[in-house]
């Protein structure tokens, strides 16, 4: 069984700070990490690989420095890593990104399952996973919290909903986006870390993909960012430090005025 896991390198948002003078993001010293949701996709991929004696390949699209995210995945036990990187991909929105990743996946040959995190922590769109499955014309199940069974080319999974979950059956090959509840990601082993250092990373540039040039990067992106600005910072109100009876009284008055 071939399993493909799509990951994204993102800035560690807990590190992102605003420069109070310029009101802009301070990027210096901000760590790059694997998107937290993709860690669950990697772990689930490793579990499937172990259960079915398969092969797990991790794919990322990004600048050359995204290689470090791939090496981290290898240190967890991933077999192969692919970096989809080219100047031609710059400025991609979710449509161009999912098109490019789908083209890269086609290049990798047969597969049974594609796993993605439910969304990335920097963009939060949750659009690239479903985009990939649409470009590849395969079924998808989003927000998967458990893979119940896989046999005879059919998977049964639990899809998280607002009210609880649905049990969904799908033929393979298919794409799943996964939520945090699905597993607990492992930490890299020492052996894995050693292997990650020397592992070969496959590089896929635009030229190597079977794709149309005008569907890549900024040119292939229907959406355009026209303005970026700092949100109004929320200001704190009153903090009551006195006897709790008095504090509670004041807050109850406030709540009462808010409830129609």
């Amino acid at each position: 069984m071939n399993i493909i896991i799509c990951i994204k390198q993102v800035p560690d948002t807990t590190d992102v700070k605003i420069n109070p003078e310029t009101n802009t993001l301070v990027r210096e010293g901000v760590q790059s990490i694997i998107n937290p949701f993709d860690m669950y996709a990697i772990e689930e991929g490793l579990r499937l690989k172990e259960q079915f004696n398969g092969k797990a390949t991790v794919v990322t699209m990004g600048p050359p420095q995204a290689e470090s995210a791939l090496r981290e995945a290898i240190s967890m036990g991933i077999d192969e890593a692919v970096l989809v990187s080219d100047r031609a991909f710059a400025g991609s929105d979710t449509l161009a990104t999912s098109y490019t990743l789908a083209a890269a996946i086609k290049k990798l040959g047969e597969f049974s399952i594609i796993l993605c995190g439910k969304q990335a922590s920097d963009g939060d769109t949750a659009q690239v996973g479903p985009g990939i499955s649409t470009h590849l014309d395969i079924p998808q199940v989003t927000y998967v919290k458990k893979i119940e069974s896989i046999k005879n080319g059919v998977a049964v999974v639990e899809r998280m909903t607002e009210e609880g979950y649905d049990v969904v059956e799908t033929p393979l090959p298919c794409l799943f986006t996964v939520v945090k509840e699905i597993n607990e990601p492992r930490t890299p082993s020492l052996k894995g870390k050693m292997r990650a250092k020397s592992a070969k990373i496959q590089l896929l540039s635009a030229q190597l993909l079977d794709c149309e040039a005008d569907r890549l990067g900024l040119k292939g992106s229907p959406t355009q960012v026209v303005k970026i600005f700092s949100p109004e910072r929320r200001k704190g109100g009153e903090v009551y430090q006195g006897p709790i009876e008095e504090s509670v009284e004041k807050v109850v008055c406030a709540i009462k005025s808010l409830i129609p």
Binding site: T14, V16, N19, T24, L25, R27, P36, P63, R87, A90, L95, S98, S121, D124, A126, Q127, G129, P130, G131, T134, P139, Q140, T142, Y143, V156, R159, M160, T161, E162, E163, G164, Y165, D166, V167, V168, E169, V179, D214, L218, K219, P222, T223, Q224, V225, V226, I228, P231, R234, G236, G237, V239, Q241, S247, V248, E249, V251, V252, A254, K256, I259
Partner: protein
């Protein structure tokens, strides 16, 4: 297509270097230089440059379909009930349609749901497109995508709005790819550019640290999702009249590769936190699972839902479906009460757009107090029960 810096115009002020969210600009011989491999062409530097020294060279290949007309709202239904987020979108949709001088249309897909069309008209729609078929009773990615794509191709709307729910996000991403158009997720602001008559879509990025305004200039429809509670629900006007158009397609349009075997509702999460108007959340300060009882009691008095921080969920005190924050749900209730939650950024990004935030914590230096509308410094095990008791008395009157 790339970022061009005109050397003659650059005065070396370094403003652009400072505003670049991606660290893609640097100074060389007192002139700004771009690192193309890091530049995402976001345009922040163009806004910042006071000397018009920076521009993005774009080549446009596509032309917008000028015949596209009308604002559409995908009206999500579950078990025959139209979800409240759809009414919120109809409110915003009406405003956009009025600015454009066009129709507002609702799209209703399901089975035995025809009677709901009038509700959608009462909430502001001029026309409702209804597709009713037994195979559409429950949401299915393939069938719902195929139906919506067929409707869009036939009637050519210029804007489609959809709730950023688990169904909405899965469906609309597929539809946008099939139609080959732009889609902007989780918009917090939607407006019409008065001159160009295009949709201005504003959304937070980087965990709410920056806001971006996004357009889809050359493709139609322009598509956007919006989360629960972000827009104000449209008023219900039973005197409104509108058209109902029933559409049917060939049988294969309704078929799906995936199949729902079972639907399970989590009884502990009877009130969906994404939809709740009041949320009472507990964090690390709750100390033990049984203590969540006092949170539940306060929530009950207020008719609200129970939320939790990641610390409480990771400790196994409460199921993940209650988690608010970056790896949980983003919520926007009118009142959010945080009990024993210190206010780490991961939690704040999930709740900081709540209208009123009340924080209860024994540490006066807890970051949650910096954003709370009202804060009480004190032991939550004393404060919360007292709050419940007092509210019970006051609200009864």
């Amino acid at each position: 297509m790339s970022l061009i810096i005109t050397k003659e115009k650059c005065v070396g002020c370094t403003l652009c270097v400072k505003v670049c969210p991606f660290g893609a600009l640097y100074m060389e011989n007192k002139k700004a230089v771009v690192r193309p491999e890091q530049c995402t062409l976001c345009g922040a530097c163009i806004e910042a440059c006071k000397f018009d020294a920076i521009e993005i060279k774009r080549e446009t290949t596509a032309e917008a379909d000028t015949e596209a007309r009308g604002v559409w709202v995908f009206c999500e239904q579950k078990r025959g009930v139209v979800q409240s987020v759809s009414y919120e979108l109809l409110g915003k949709g009406r405003e956009l349609a009025d600015k454009l001088g066009c129709e507002l249309c609702g799209v209703l897909i399901g089975h035995d749901i025809g009677s709901k069309s009038s509700d959608i008209i009462h909430r502001g729609a001029d026309t409702v497109y209804v597709v009713d078929h037994p195979q559409l009773k429950y949401f299915a990615d393939d069938a719902y995508t195929a139906v919506l794509v067929r409707l869009v191709k036939k009637y050519k709307p210029e804007i489609i709005l959809c709730g950023a729910t688990s169904i909405g996000r899965s469906l609309i991403s597929r539809v946008a790819v099939k139609i080959h158009t732009g889609l902007t997720a989780d918009c917090t602001g939607l407006d019409i550019d008065a001159h160009k008559k295009i949709l201005l879509q504003t959304r937070p990025a980087f965990g709410g640290n920056i806001m971006a305004t996004i357009i889809t200039p050359n493709h139609r429809p322009q598509m956007a999702t919006v989360r629960h509670k972000v827009m104000k629900e449209a008023a219900h006007d039973p005197s409104r009249q509108g058209k109902i158009i029933k559409e049917t397609f060939e049988d294969n349009v309704y078929s799906s590769r995936t199949k729902i075997l079972d639907i399970i509702e989590d009884v502990s999460a009877t009130i969906n936190i994404a939809e709740a108007d009041i949320i009472v959340s507990g964090g690390r300060g709750m100390k033990a699972p049984e203590n969540f009882k006092i949170i539940e009691e306060l929530a009950t008095v207020l008719n609200g839902a129970v939320g939790a921080s990641r610390a409480a969920v990771d400790s196994g005190w409460i199921p993940y479906s209650h988690q608010v924050g970056q790896t949980g749900k983003t919520v926007c209730p009118s009142i959010y009460i945080a009990c024993g939650i210190s206010g780490q950024i991961q939690h704040l990004v999930g709740m900081q757009s709540s209208k009123t935030i009340i924080a209860i914590n024994n540490d006066p230096a807890a970051p949650i107090f910096q954003i709370a509308s009202y804060g009480i410094v004190g032991d939550l095990f004393e404060v919360v029960p007292l709050l419940t008791k007092t509210l019970k008395e006051k609200l009864r009157k």
